[in-house]
């Protein structure tokens, strides 16, 4: 939900409540006012009639016109003494309209010139409440809709205009990639808060960029610095193992150390390769046909496949051409092939399916589906940690794929499938 829609929806709910209360208040106050006015005119009317009657006894008769009506009736003295003047609502039948209309009635008593007591009933036609309620309701609804439309239009306009720097900034941030090529932030605004937001975000991204490149540089430098001491350790061990006075037990220990140094070397090289890929140090790009590369590499692994009694099948639907760095193409395919091979149990099978737009690597397994979210992260190794495996193979694959904006997906249907799309 957009900020503007959120605001407007809240606003319209509040408006409904306010307008409802206001409508009620309006209705009752109008009603009250009308009643007041009607009672006032009844009072006036009463005085007029009584004056007329006192002047002229002949006027003591009933009178009726469209708007009002009065009746005069003689009452006993005792009745007159206890008489209380009262106002009340009633209805009266109009023959013309042939319906009952609401009337306001005043009943009072007075003493005529003939010392007799009379009761005076005056009726004035008054307004119909039902009609009024409907009229008021309608006007409220119209008011509400009109107000809502006005608010909608105005706020949409004002929002768009005043929040445009925010949306621009959001767009820019959305397109921002660490270590990528980012366009400079062009977002001039007079609003202080937005200016500050611009500045803060610029500062933050710059700091991130700096830290990111520093970190990349650090990994690369650290890897470089490790190479020479590692070489010394490894080579000294190799010489040491050749000394004739080494016993078998010592040789075994030496081999363990040597193998572990070998692992460090491999890890170090893989990390270096990763940071090189991420630092864009493989910039030479050309059109590469993957079919021969895949065939060559599988041939290279032929003896290993035979050793593990693996069956490898290459299905070639089409020639797959892709624009990328040649050594990276080799590394990419090698890693995927090795990954398939390492995780296939003995006597299993591997199927490489080459299409014009991508390559799929499928291998049989005794295991279950792998954790997709962690599959391509560094040092992730499924279930059993393989000795000698760096856990960086698929991370290297991922970083090559990111570099060229390719896609790789994994799915499981009894076999592991790695689907590479260009």
């Amino acid at each position: 939900m957009k900020l503007i829609h959120h605001t407007i929806s809240k606003l319209s709910i509040v408006m409904i409540v306010i307008l409802t209360f206001w409508a009620g208040f309006f209705f009752f106050s109008i009603l009250d006012e009308i009643l007041d006015e009607t009672d006032d005119s009844l009072e006036n009317y009463k005085h007029l009639i009584i004056q007329q009657v006192l002047r002229d006894t002949a006027a003591i008769h009933n009178n009726s016109d469209l708007m009002s009506q009065y009746f005069i009736k003689e009452i006993s003295e005792t009745q007159a003494i206890h008489y209380e003047e009262r106002y009340f609502d009633s209805t009266r039948f109009y023959e013309i309209e042939y319906e009952f209309d609401p009337v306001r009635v005043l009943k009072t008593a007075f003493q005529g010139q003939d010392k007799k007591f009379y009761e005076l009933t005056i009726m004035i036609s008054t307004l119909e409440q039902g009609d009024m309620i409907i009229a008021i309701l309608w006007s409220i609804v119209i008011l509400y809709v009109t107000l809502l439309i006005c608010i909608l239009v105005v706020s949409e306009f004002v929002f768009r205009k005043s929040l445009s720097p925010l949306y621009k900034l959001l767009d820019w941030l959305n397109n921002f990639t660490l270590g990528g090529k980012n366009s400079p932030l062009k977002n001039p605004t007079k609003i202080k808060e937005f200016q500050k937001l611009n500045d803060t975000i610029l500062k933050m991204t710059r700091r991130n960029e700096e830290m990111y490149s520093q970190q990349k540089q650090f990994i690369e430098n650290a890897s470089h610095e490790l190479q020479t001491p590692l070489a010394i350790c490894q080579n000294k061990l190799e010489l040491l193992a050749e000394r004739p006075d080494c016993t078998e037990g010592q040789l075994e220990e030496l081999e363990d150390i040597h193998r572990n140094i070998g692992r460090i070397v491999k890890l170090n090289k893989s990390l270096l390769l990763l940071s090189r890929i991420e630092n864009g140090q493989f910039h030479e790009i050309k059109e590469i046909t993957l079919n021969p590369i895949i065939k060559e590499l599988t041939e290279d692994f032929q003896e290993i496949y035979e050793h593990k009694k693996l069956h490898i099948e290459i299905k070639e639907d089409a020639i797959c051409n892709v624009r990328m760095n040649e050594s990276l193409a080799n590394i990419l395919i090698t890693n995927l092939l090795k990954n398939a091979m390492i995780h296939t149990p003995n006597e299993g099978n591997i199927i490489v399916h080459i299409q014009s737009s991508g390559v799929t690597f499928a291998n049989s397994t005794e295991g279950d589906s792998l954790d997709q979210s962690r599959l391509f992260t560094r040092f992730y190794q499924a279930d059993n940690k393989k000795k000698e495996s760096t856990g960086l193979g698929l991370a290297i694959v991922q970083s090559i794929i990111n570099l060229y904006h390719f896609q790789i997906s994994y799915f499981f249907d009894g076999k592991h499938h790695f689907d590479l799309r260009f």
């Binding site: 020479t228 590692l230 090289k269 390769l273």
Partner: protein, 228 residues
């Protein structure tokens, strides 16, 4: 055969020297750029091992210097950087090979022997050990004049052994030689074990005098002469 090692790291220089001397090379060393420059001016070498990050100057300019002097020594760049640019510039400037640190001594021997062999002008590139002759260029092996059929991995392994005769070669070193690059190598030791077993069997059946011996716990060794 004379080799010049240009390397500023003392320990590494020493270990390389000792190992190459075992292979009966005459080894000289230079610790920095000026010494190296002086040595290549004054003497001739069969092979130069060149570290390109040197105190006092870039190792790549040694290559330019060699070109100017019209010397044709084999040069192997030994670098901790392992970057493609360096490799390409080095090879363009006339280096014969590029070896990234860290390396195995067996790998170093193989590379040195390979560049020296390629530089020999008499066209005799084969390696002969007793009754075994190995042709590195056309990937063939003959024992007593008869060809020994090997698959590619077996050949690669044998090549490693013959370039490091009588030297103890570690299992992981062999695995790397066979797998080629530095990426994931799980399961490879088991494979090496079976490949070496096959290779030994084939050599034994062909009655080769050199023999691959397993050194318990560590690796293998090619014994060139029959034990007395």
């Amino acid at each position: 055969m004379k080799i010049l090692i240009i390397e500023d790291e003392k320990d590494l220089r020493e270990v390389m020297t000792r190992s190459l001397e075992k292979e009966r090379f005459i080894v000289e060393t230079a610790v920095d750029y000026p010494t190296a420059l002086q040595k290549i001016n004054d003497y001739d070498y069969d092979c130069i091992l060149l570290d390109i990050m040197l105190p006092g100057g870039n190792g790549l300019s040694i290559l330019e210097e060699l070109k100017k002097l019209k010397k044709r020594e084999s040069v192997i760049i030994v670098s901790a950087k392992d970057s493609i640019e360096d490799k390409v510039t080095g090879l363009d400037l006339g280096a014969d090979d590029y070896l990234a640190k860290p390396f195995h001594l067996a790998e170093l021997h193989a590379r040195v022997k390979s560049v020296i062999r390629r530089h020999q002008t008499d066209g005799n590139t084969e390696i002969e050990i007793e009754n075994l002759i190995l042709h590195p260029d056309d990937h063939t092996v003959f024992i007593n004049g008869e060809e020994l059929k090997l698959n590619r991995k077996e050949f690669d392994l044998l090549y490693y052994f013959v370039t490091n005769p009588n030297r103890l070669i570690n299992k992981t070193t062999l695995a790397e030689a066979v797998w080629g690059d530095n990426i994931d190598q799980a399961d490879s030791l088991d494979f090496i074990y079976s490949q070496v077993k096959n290779l030994r069997k084939k050599m034994k059946n062909a009655e080769a005098i050199p023999e691959i011996k397993a050194v318990y716990g560590f690796g293998y060794k090619l014994i060139t002469t029959p034990e007395a």
